[in-house]
């Protein structure tokens, strides 16, 4: 028996659900059939009332907690918050974490086979929006026999999916936790995404997205995209305290090789990412971010767009997050107040920028756990508290 930390969900195995009913997408196209890969942690109770859906961010996936094998070096991406006794307590909640459509970790996406052509979808894969993701997640909920989620929870792009859940399926969500998110991207956000997309699309190995046919991948472009993205995930302070102006060697060498530690770090992050992530997926995910704007159909009035929402919200932001700063969370909170919805808002002091939502921080854990305790109590769930 492998040894895992006591507060870990331990060994987990992803599962695949196949859907043969076509899914109509916001872009007007239809996905004829699709797979969703997901993981679950904890046990679904007899009433099926303790299920929680975790929505992932731009480069996330279904592996949110636990380990795939005894030798896996790092646990899932949100292991800090999911597990026995953690904020999302698997002793009383049944947690579902799904890889979104268009992803590159097993759910149907650009690297899957297009049944009509017999080759990879590649750039032909339809543009997927947050609304589409929520519809596909609802199909998975149906498949698992979950009528109503105890909570839907997500950070960043995941938080936007949570918000969409409260609007598309208000009767199917009992609590919403929206972390480090925004009701829509700013011009600056879209600008950063466009730089990332151009980096990928201008790579000579991109081949208009058909790089797989040429047995290659636009790794340089994807690396650049990730490097730019990574800068926006960290705060200036976090970068400063981690690297400062530290040099890799003792002297300046007056050239263009890596000299500062921060350069080395960014290149490493970019390299690792560019060999493990699909460029077409990255393009799709950034478009999903850009397009998200539930207020657009209501003359830009977010409070009116929020009218269908019916569950209590917890909205969390982080002081040094400059990708989706506290002011964007407040925009959502104020619209919820204006719409007369049940909402609580917390702004956590953290030096980690946008990435803070992934990390354990005592106050973040305390407010998260307090809200989840309340959720469990609202639903009459058993379990220690």
């Amino acid at each position: 028996m492998p040894e895992f930390p006591r507060d870990s969900v331990g060994l987990v195995t992803p599962e695949t659900a196949h859907f043969s009913d076509p899914l109509a997408l916001a872009c007007g196209r239809t996905l004829p059939a699709y797979d969703l890969v997901y993981e679950t942690y904890g046990t679904l109770n007899a009433e099926r009332s303790n299920a929680i859906l975790i929505c992932h961010a731009l480069s996330g996936h279904h592996h949110a907690a636990g380990f795939h094998s005894a030798d896996e070096r790092k646990p899932g991406w949100w292991d800090a918050h999911i597990g026995p006794g953690k904020s999302i307590d698997t002793d009383r909640f049944f947690v579902i974490s799904v890889n979104n459509l268009g992803g590159c970790h097993g759910s149907t996406g650009p690297t899957s086979e297009n049944p009509e052509t017999g080759r990879q979808w590649g750039p032909d894969f339809p543009i997927i929006t947050v609304v589409d993701w929520v519809h596909s997640q609802a199909q998975l909920a149906d498949r698992l026999g979950i009528e109503r989620f105890a909570a839907v929870i997500g950070g960043s792009l995941g938080g936007m999916q949570v918000l969409q859940w409260t609007l598309s399926y208000p009767e199917r969500i009992a609590h919403a936790v929206v972390i480090a998110a925004t009701p829509k991207l700013s011009a600056q956000n879209i600008a950063f995404n466009e730089v990332a997309r151009q980096a990928i699309r201008s790579d000579p190995d991109f081949f208009e997205g058909w790089y797989a046919d040429h047995d290659t991948a636009p790794r340089r472009g994807l690396k650049l995209a990730r490097m730019v993205g990574h800068i926006t995930y960290l705060s200036e302070d976090a970068m400063g305290s981690k690297f400062g102006r530290d040099l890799r060697s003792t002297d300046l060498n007056f050239g263009f090789d890596v000299e500062f530690q921060v350069e080395s770090y960014l290149r490493y992050q970019g390299d690792t990412f560019s060999t493990s992530f699909d460029a077409n997926t990255y393009l799709l995910m950034t478009k999903a971010l850009d397009y998200f704007d539930p207020a657009a159909a209501h003359d830009g009035e977010l409070a009116r767009a929020l009218a269908p929402a019916a569950c209590p919200f917890l909205v969390v932001s982080f002081t040094t997050d400059w990708r989706f700063p506290p002011s964007r969370s407040k925009e959502l909170v104020n619209a919820l107040i204006r719409a007369d919805k049940s909402v609580s808002y917390v702004n956590i002091d953290s030096s980690h920028g946008h990435d803070a939502f992934l990390m354990p921080e005592p106050r973040y854990q305390a407010v998260f756990a307090a809200f989840m305790d309340r959720a469990a109590r609202d639903l009459g769930l058993e379990g220690h508290s």
Binding site: K330, N334, R338, A366, A370, R374, R377
Partner: protein, 199 residues
């Protein structure tokens, strides 16, 4: 156990009211009002422990600094705005009073009465800044930067043309004693006002 001033406010607030509680602490009042009177609303707070306690109770709490105003609440968004023991810690209590009566037609405010006889005695006889049950801090670390008296507040309301719907004193055990009813400025430890816009 609810503080004496909260008990009185609890009695004053009507069934089903939409209430904004400024400086709601651990959400004791809002939780009791939701349970007993079907009251809905929000609490504003900046102390982390208070906010966590509110979340655990299921009280809607917004992390917000009162000195930044209430711009995120529309005119007449609520039936009542409550502020207990926070007025004296604000940068501009007079502007906050305007804000409160913009958001709701009526507000309830409580604050420590600086003219309470024990406070007077402390300053008058001992020659030190008063330290008491209602003013527990030393002069150098107190959050209370705008202390006032029962009379001061009445004068402010008069100057602003506001109507005082009700007033009371909270002094724990002596609550309702005839001395504090007749001479609230001298015998009231906590001033409790219910103020409305002049209709």
């Amino acid at each position: 156990m609810m503080r004496a001033d909260l008990k009185l406010i609890h009695a004053w607030i009507p069934e089903g009211a939409r209430v904004l509680d400024l400086g709601c602490g651990e959400g004791t009042l809002l939780a009791a009002l939701a349970r007993d009177k079907d009251v809905t609303g929000y609490g504003l707070e900046i102390a982390p422990e208070g906010i966590t306690a509110c979340l655990a109770k299921g009280v809607n709490v917004i992390e917000q600094n009162l000195d930044e105003g209430l711009a995120n609440f529309d005119d007449n968004a609520c039936d009542l705005v409550v502020m207990t023991q926070a007025l004296q810690a604000l940068r501009r209590p007079d502007l906050m009073l305007d804000e409160m009566l913009r958001v709701a037609g009526e507000c309830i405010i409580t604050f420590p009465n600086f003219a309470y006889w024990r406070h007077r005695a402390y300053l008058g006889f001992k020659g030190y800044m008063p330290v008491s049950r209602s003013l527990p801090h030393a002069w150098y670390d107190t959050p209370n930067i705008h202390l006032s008296t029962f009379n001061d507040f009445e004068r402010l309301c008069r100057d602003k043309g506001l109507s005082i719907v009700d007033r009371a004193v909270g002094i724990g055990d002596h609550e309702g004693h005839w001395t504090s009813r007749w001479w609230p400025n001298l015998f009231g430890e906590i001033a409790i006002f219910r103020v409305a816009r002049r209709s």
